[in-house]
Symmetry: C2
């Protein structure tokens, strides 16, 4: 959590802890109610999150979980990947996707597909397209996509693929190919070759780090898309900084 | 699973069992690979599922899980609710929602909202709107909706609410009210009074049975909507009976 203040999160953490779970809060505010509710806190140190549509918090959360996983698993290749990760992210933040902006400026809706670890990045990308760019986009696992949603695909239907670099890649490529055969407007973001029009992103320092690199490459392009669509990405309609639902 | 044949499901069940999990297959085909892979089988006895977009399998799965939960928990009120459930479902299948069909025939996209146990029915309804009616609809938990997707809501934006009958109801009503204030075209399906235009459904024999009653009331109206939108609900575009992804 960015603010550590959403009552639903705080209540869920309190209830889980009361029932005996070991609770860990990953939050940008180590003095927040969420941090107080949990036994262990991983502070994000992301600095002030000025945007309503939190982006650096999401990236910092993924990075914190990546570090946690690397040290917990004691996987040498994961731990080694931590050092070049900031540089890969800095490089990703420079990715320019003019074709994405051109293709998605006028569309009414879109799918964002990925699979495996990068599935979270597809959901986050779809959420950001909704809140910042005013585009009705739904994120889907490529593994689920043929079970129903594919019925909507017709020539020109916009699909953004965030290409994983791990074992999920061949399955994503296969689904993307079948959508391209149906005439979808297919944009393929990532370092690995794929199908459709390529949106470049740097190679991740470890296949499991691809979800971070992909979403970092996506963010500035989503902001540019928002502007192209006449939206102010810093002021999403109807949204406030802390969402209070319980 | 309806067919018990989707390779991804079968493989997941095999892997889970190999690693020591107790595996239970809920399937309409007790001689299927999925049933063979699992240690325990709950056969659905739903008869032949002729539709590509499986509907009676979904309902029969919910009913099987409801029975399992009732007997496992030994909750008397849950077990008592099993007897009037078929009658409530038969009554729900007669629900007529002309206002839903009228309002959703021309729209480009929609949200389907619910919360708690009925969240699954909102996801299923959105999936069926995609595959049978060719309508880009996304299901959301009302608890999540204010964290981003609400940015898309503008006057006339179509939102279908499946109203729960349990503790989730007040929260859903609150979110629906805030969407109505923003001018959303709000349709409220269920037995409980709500906000927006009412789509009638019979009261469930137990609050936890509301997800079954709601989706049963929805299905025939979704088929009518598909026809109104010029789609054949029995022949969704691009879909086959068994989806093979792995």
């Amino acid at each position: 959590s960015q603010s550590g203040k959403s009552p639903d999160l705080v209540e869920a953490a309190r209830t889980a802890r009361k029932r005996g779970a070991l609770t860990l809060a990953v939050t940008n505010d180590p003095a927040s109610p969420l941090a107080e509710a949990a036994e262990v806190v991983l502070p994000l140190h992301a600095g002030e999150e000025k945007a309503v549509a939190a982006t650096k918090t999401f990236l910092a959360e993924l990075a914190a979980l990546f570090q946690l996983g690397a040290h917990w698993s004691e996987e040498a290749t994961l731990k080694e990947a931590l050092w070049p990760l900031p540089e890969a992210l800095a490089s990703a933040s420079q990715a320019e996707w003019p074709r994405f902006i051109e293709a998605f400026t006028e569309v009414e809706h879109a799918f964002v597909l990925s699979r495996g670890l990068a599935y979270a990045s597809a959901l986050e990308a779809a959420l950001k397209l909704k809140e910042a760019a005013g585009l009705f986009a739904e994120g889907f696992s490529a593994a689920e996509f043929l079970h129903g949603p594919v019925a909507l695909i017709e020539p020109g239907f916009p699909v953004l693929v965030l290409a994983p670099e791990d074992a999920a890649l061949p399955g994503v490529r296969e689904v993307a190919s079948s959508l391209q055969e149906k005439g979808a407007l297919l944009l393929w973001a990532g370092a690995e070759p794929g199908v459709g029009e390529a949106l470049p992103a740097p190679k991740a320092p470890h296949p499991y780090a691809a979800p971070l690199v992909l979403i970092q490459a996506f963010y500035p392009n989503a902001a540019r898309l928002a502007l192209a669509r006449g939206q102010d990405p810093d002021r999403p309609r109807n949204l406030r900084k802390v969402t209070r639902t319980l």
